[in-house]
Symmetry: C5
Amino acid sequence: MDIATIIGLVAAFGLIIGSILTGGSLTSFLDVPSMMIVVGGTFGVGLISFPMARVLSAMKVAINVFRYEVPDISEQNTQIIEFADTARKEGILSLEGSLSSIEDDFMKRGVQLLVDGIEPEKIEDLMYDELEGMETRHGTGAQIFETFASSAPALGLVGTLIGLVNMLQNMEDPSAIGPAMAVALLTTFYGALLANVVFTPVAGKLRIRHQEELQAKALVVKGLMGIARGENPRILAQQLEVELPPSQRSDNG
Amino acid sequence: MDIATIIGLVAAFGLIIGSILTGGSLTSFLDVPSMMIVVGGTFGVGLISFPMARVLSAMKVAINVFRYEVPDISEQNTQIIEFADTARKEGILSLEGSLSSIEDDFMKRGVQLLVDGIEPEKIEDLMYDELEGMETRHGTGAQIFETFASSAPALGLVGTLIGLVNMLQNMEDPSAIGPAMAVALLTTFYGALLANVVFTPVAGKLRIRHQEELQAKALVVKGLMGIARGENPRILAQQLEVELPPSQRSDNG
Amino acid sequence: MDIATIIGLVAAFGLIIGSILTGGSLTSFLDVPSMMIVVGGTFGVGLISFPMARVLSAMKVAINVFRYEVPDISEQNTQIIEFADTARKEGILSLEGSLSSIEDDFMKRGVQLLVDGIEPEKIEDLMYDELEGMETRHGTGAQIFETFASSAPALGLVGTLIGLVNMLQNMEDPSAIGPAMAVALLTTFYGALLANVVFTPVAGKLRIRHQEELQAKALVVKGLMGIARGENPRILAQQLEVELPPSQRSDNG
Amino acid sequence: MDIATIIGLVAAFGLIIGSILTGGSLTSFLDVPSMMIVVGGTFGVGLISFPMARVLSAMKVAINVFRYEVPDISEQNTQIIEFADTARKEGILSLEGSLSSIEDDFMKRGVQLLVDGIEPEKIEDLMYDELEGMETRHGTGAQIFETFASSAPALGLVGTLIGLVNMLQNMEDPSAIGPAMAVALLTTFYGALLANVVFTPVAGKLRIRHQEELQAKALVVKGLMGIARGENPRILAQQLEVELPPSQRSDNG
Amino acid sequence: MDIATIIGLVAAFGLIIGSILTGGSLTSFLDVPSMMIVVGGTFGVGLISFPMARVLSAMKVAINVFRYEVPDISEQNTQIIEFADTARKEGILSLEGSLSSIEDDFMKRGVQLLVDGIEPEKIEDLMYDELEGMETRHGTGAQIFETFASSAPALGLVGTLIGLVNMLQNMEDPSAIGPAMAVALLTTFYGALLANVVFTPVAGKLRIRHQEELQAKALVVKGLMGIARGENPRILAQQLEVELPPSQRSDNG
């Protein structure tokens, strides 16, 4: 569970609603047609820009922004070092027995390839190709939210222009000008809000989550290659930990 | 047929028209001279920026945004694996008989080169050079729409400035100011609409389609090189599938 | 002669002038001091940004946007294949006789190096270094127009601010405010027009022309290296044509 | 202690406060709800965009902008050259005695690896991997401030739109319009101020500090590799100093 | 002496002053507090963004924009070819006598290394590392002016917002609104002027000068490596000249 996202959203929206209530009422800021043009239009632009399957999967991916667990790299490293130990003592084939205990599919496929006796270079190529495919697929999520983030203010502008043109065509009643202009500005308000408080930061967090995942998986490849080379488990442990912050390393001596 | 593009366009334009009708009439938003300066000017800028042949071909390419079939990579992979099987059992020359059954020109040329006995490295170079040429040519489509997307709002601004200057020169009749300003804003409205709801998303989808096509073709090169090396078809299948999402892979064991 | 550029310019300026005439008179849009600040200022910024020799040569290069002939790659390829044929049958030295028939200086220097018996690797290095020098020199043309394109609206803004400040200092006569503001907006109008309808698209076409030229020259290097290696002319022809669109290739079998 | 940062902040804020006092009073520019929406909202967006641990560590890192000591590269070089001397005369193992005198943890770990007899290529890989991890971790600090810098004006705009809509809904009292609009503009003012005078320049300095640190550490790797190769200390000194400005080099002959 | 920079500055400022005088008086455009907030604030932001030493050295570097001599590459090449000739006939050691005649420090250090008998690969590494250090140091000059260029309009906006808020708080006297707004706009005017007519173009010229210098120095490395390899001076001349425009090459046959 990623509490930061929730705290961030609650804080930002809370402050904005508070600011609205300080100077007026919330109802002046709710206008269903304005919302529809910004939200619906942004979603429509998303469908023109991306294949439908990707837009739908981005929605699913976005939920991960809330329920997410940071990959536990030290646990993953411990498991790899154990495999390296076993493989050194009893041979790589002996890892077959541990296959069922591996939860992560990516690592499982890699160990399976090791056990199958495929040459290490080919395993490395296969695993990096799989990572690359993952990078393209998962990266689209952030990309779609970035597209939403640039479309929302544009549709806000379109909505405001519609409101302004309508207002300018009917200026007989001066007292109606202010409220009409207020409504015209609402789409710009929605666009700025959605883009800057929802879409851009969600895209940012998706991108970071995605990087963390790829880094963890790259360590799996590094570890399995070390096992295939028959690397000394102590040195392999250093190689796997060296990118972590010093505080998270197990060997401090 | 790419339904997402059509749904997206219908949804976005539907919501915009709905929003116009809520506050006024559609006729206030139709102004032929304003349309001409934005649409015609954008097209003119396209012709100054790009050679004519490319602008015309971009128009043709844009239609592909609507009628498009995702390349079926698993079918393509199946065919390559079959070739690998045949080549392993009966020799690469035996692929000559299958040449007529290959629909994709790119793959056909590659298999022809294999059958001709050209060295694999040269085949790889030739095929990658062909891909590169394809990348340049097809990429121009998206590039032209991106140019349109940045020109349209600029011409919208030019049009609005013309309207404003004309209006400011004739301010005797105060009641005419509002409608004159409304008309002046229409070019900005058209520019924002075309750029954000048509040109930018169409460029986005062209770019994605183009990437999918190049990825499919790169797999063909990878496959034919595997055949040339006499790669084990089972391993080759893994190499070709590893970039696909797990759900689309044939081997799950 | 590049007709697209001329059609584009005529169309864009025609539509803009038409739009001006629809709502007012052309004379309201002509203001010599405003033009001087935008055009002269932009040119001044160009001189601060770039060495004088480059600014002047960019002016010359810009004319190429109008009178330009696409390099005829198939003709160039035919000549290279002929040379490959001759070199294979009669030796590379026999190319000396053809030197005088080569029009393109770059190719001529390359063939001269071949005939001089310089090692192929050195020839390749020399030719690529020459291409790199060309890339830097010719690329500046587009770069200068891009600088113009970003300076013109900035000077337009500066001009409009001058007009606004002057207007705001003298607001005794309300009837003078409109026309004064109209004049103030003219520099923004000129800046937007020059940047978006002239400088940016001219920079775009210069860049594309430049790329086409470099690609044609890179094929010359590829071809001469093939000759130096004694490559089979039929295969060399394929290597040279493979980046062209299928319709322009000579071998379709 | 980095005095430039403090002088810069004092100068910029001093001039801004001076400018406020010239034309009005400071109290017109203090509005707690406006500050809360900009500052709180920006921080909220930071929490949605980044994992909480990183946002908190960025706060700590930002303090380094004030208390910072430029890494003393010539002192570091002197130490490395001494080690090279000792290693050449008494063998690499003799460096064990100097381990306790090394203050920098990164260099200490490197020398430890040398003394442990790990192969130089592995040491180089380990140290570069550690540098890469450091690059990712420390780079986030600047990245978060850049995110703040782009969020603050966006939240300023949102706040101003809220103020404008509220004002436009209540235009009965003309004398209240001016002050209401003044308050509405304050969030834009805060956003512009924070983004341009605090967040962007702090991000800039963090990035430069970070680069200087990485360059110093890369010299450590270069030096230790020279020691492992048994490089002549005089030449090693030149290799370490060559990137410094001539004035900071010890050998001028 | 770089006349283009001076002509450009005189032309741009001349036209701007002319434009001011056409519609008003220069005194309306001079406001010391407005200047201080833009100029002082921009400098303050520079100090927060960069270490003080770099900001001060950027000031010195900026003067080079005016007094600059294009590196005379053909003279430099002539000297290198002479050295190649001497080295070929009398051995590399014989270059020791020419050391005192070399004006450029970079070339001098390179020839010294050659004479010292250091291996060519190490000399190449040393010289490229020195070039890299130079690139980082000298590149900061342009970077600081680019930072100034983006800060100046931002501080202009901050100043204008201060003026607007002050004006909106005191709207009792309608005749004071115009002049107050005029003054408020002056900071935007200064910011736009400094950014677009001074900082951005100066950064541009610094960057180009810097590139020319690096290219000249890279030719020195290329030349000394040719001497170390004992390259034929005629071929070396070609290698050094090939990146120059054809008109500046000595060998046209």
